[in-house]
């Protein structure tokens, strides 16, 4: 046929319909997933999306995403989405499948998620033979948290928690999840595949489709374990990581079908639907209790010190340290304190923020959702948290011009180019301490000795302690000289 003319080209392989056109996770990067270059999660997502397309089940598929690097799967798959607590995806999937019997439910999990914290959930879901599909992404490590060892880590493999390499004596042997689950009676299909080369990848796609098809046919529990590269945490180039899957990982985790009962599987009638929600209290015999009428709203007592501080900025600006010094100083001064860091799940770039509370009274919650002091180290952070500041509270903003559309009549604002000030002191990285100085001066919450003690405890390098002391003093001075009160 090639003797003819080429009339046109038609797409043979392109983005699956089951993906959204753009991903609204962030203003930027709407074209890309958040995965690192060469990450197996993306490849596996594509196989799953393709299978959903081919089986024509997009409208009734529900994806349960885990905790781990794939936590954001719901931003990509244009299907029903539920995000489960760490390890609990098979339990959530069970509930979804049982309450929506027509749905096709996928539990997508990493190896930390499935084989460590979630080992009970997967075991029992498999043992109950839930009619769900489990995609088990085994990259032999906890990736999102930076590379701690997982039950699946190879013998000798180094991780942040097995810096000398995993030893059978101390950490036991790599857990063979597929082999283990295959000993159960109920599962209908269990296969281990890999992303080690073109052929393996083709086989993985086939297996994932098969596992989805089993569910469509009502056959029961299927699990596909995929040996998957994590170039970032393995500290390898993508191609090298792919080879490592093929040459090394596969030796510990042999590929193949460990269970296949699809031929003889009994198609159970769908389980009874869950009773309607309204009827549950009655079934449980829990009477509705009337709330006592006219209960006056509790008013927080005004305390000498009751700081609810939110510190926010880009990773690398010293956001967490600022909060830590404040909390540590509070501790030194005999106050009740809490410090709660909160970072984005992406391994690279991103923003960070922390919640700090200082009080004379026991602290009810470490979460600061309505700060009375906001330390915003850059504009996006200001925009994110400005509206949350308590009326009468403070905003300390790093930047010379306070954005007009962020101005509020009911809060005090100290806006200064703190990074520039820090630069004049010798190091832009001290901007966080200049801002902390201003905060300490304006709140008058803590004695300077406590701040000094905290700094010495948290900052190991004497050179930085000296710089930070100067930065704090400069911050105090800036506040005193400012017109704002």
């Amino acid at each position: 046929m090639s003797s003819g003319l080429i009339a046109e080209y038609e797409v043979v392989q392109g983005k699956a319909k089951s993906f959204y056109d753009t991903y609204e996770r962030k203003d930027e990067l709407q074209h890309q997933t958040h995965y690192c270059p060469g990450c197996g999660h993306g490849t596996i997502h594509k196989m799953l999306a393709r299978a959903i397309d081919e089986l024509g089940i997009q409208d009734r598929t529900i994806l349960v995403s885990p905790v781990g690097c794939s936590v954001f799967a719901y931003y990509y798959f244009d299907v029903g989405n539920v995000q489960a607590a760490h390890g609990r995806a098979p339990a959530v999937a069970t509930a979804l499948k049982r309450s929506r019997r027509d749905s096709i439910v996928v539990s997508y999990q990493g190896d930390g998620d499935l084989s460590a914290i979630g080992s009970a959930e997967i075991l029992h879901a498999a043992n109950r033979g839930e009619n769900i599909t489990v995609i088990f992404v085994n990259n032999a490590i906890y990736s999102m948290t930076g590379g701690q060892f997982a039950p699946t880590t190879l013998l000798g493999q180094k991780s942040t928690t097995t810096p000398l390499g995993r030893s059978a004596q101390h950490e036991g042997y790599p857990l063979h999840v597929s082999e283990l689950l295959a000993t159960l009676e109920a599962p209908v299909y269990i296969e281990r595949v890999a992303l080690g080369d073109n052929k393996q990848i083709a086989q993985a796609a086939k297996a994932i489709k098969r596992a989805m098809e089993n569910q469509v046919k009502g056959l029961g529990f299927s699990l596909i374990e995929v040996l998957s590269p994590c170039p970032t945490v393995w500290k390898m180039q993508p191609v090298q990581a792919q080879q490592w899957v093929h040459d090394v990982m596969e030796k510990t985790f042999p590929l193949g079908v460990f269970k296949d009962r699809t031929k003889e599987a009994h198609v159970w009638p769908a389980r009874d639907a869950a009773p309607p929600l309204e009827t549950i209290p009655e079934i449980l015999g829990v009477a509705h209790e009337e709330l006592p009428e006219g209960k006056a709203e509790m008013r927080a007592q005004v305390k000498d010190v009751d700081l609810h501080v939110r510190v926010a900025g880009f990773g690398g600006q010293g956001v967490l340290l600022l909060g830590e010094v404040l909390a540590e100083a509070g501790l030194d001064a005999g106050l009740e304190v809490s410090w709660l860091p909160s970072y984005g799940p992406e391994m690279r770039s991103g923003t960070s923020n922390c919640h700090v509370r200082l009080s004379k009274e026991p602290i009810d919650s470490p979460l600061v959702t309505v700060p009375n002091v906001l330390v915003a180290m850059n504009e996006p952070s200001l925009r994110k948290f400005d509206a949350s500041v308590k009326p009468g509270g403070w905003v300390i903003y790093n930047g010379d011009a306070f954005p007009e559309d962020c101005v509020r009549e009911d809060v005090h604002v100290l806006a200064l180019p703190f990074t520039q000030v820090a630069n004049e002191l010798g190091d832009t990285r001290a901007a966080n301490m200049v801002m902390l100085g201003a905060l300490l001066e304006m709140t008058g919450a803590l004695p300077q000795e406590s701040v000094d003690a905290a700094l010495k405890r948290l900052v190991k390098n004497p050179r930085f302690v000296e710089l930070d002391e100067r930065a704090l003093a400069r911050g105090r001075e800036l506040y005193r000289n400012s017109a704002v009160r």
Binding site: L5, A7, E10, V11, V12, Q13, G14, K15, G38
Partner: protein
């Protein structure tokens, strides 16, 4: 290039989506993908079709971790007695759109 001589397949890369992992370069059987010298908006070198030799096997698409970074197209042939001029022009356009 004459339509008759053009390759069976065609590769399109979305440079905004490609992260430059290079897996497709390695995977492509006829070795017709290379990495760009130019960086994209995000600072990645991106996969680039060398311009001919694609067989439309789709392997690069399969190994690529990004959902839509790669699109593989296949030539549709018609008998030589049907030159189909306007369609040919279209094919040329597609070829130009790929990088």
């Amino acid at each position: 290039m004459e339509a008759e001589k053009r390759s069976r397949g065609l590769l399109k890369v979305d440079v905004d989506e490609c992260k430059g992992c290079g897996l497709c370069v390695e995977a492509c059987p006829p070795h017709v993908i290379s990495m760009s010298e130019k960086l994209n908006h995000y600072g990645y070198r991106t996969a680039t079709y060398v311009g001919e030799g694609c067989t439309a096997c789709g392997i690069c698409f399969m190994v690529c971790p990004e959902p839509g970074a790669i699109t593989v197209l296949k030539a549709v042939y018609r008998a030589s007695d049907e030159p189909g001029r306007s369609l040919r022009a279209e094919a040329k356009e597609v070829a130009c759109a790929s990088n």
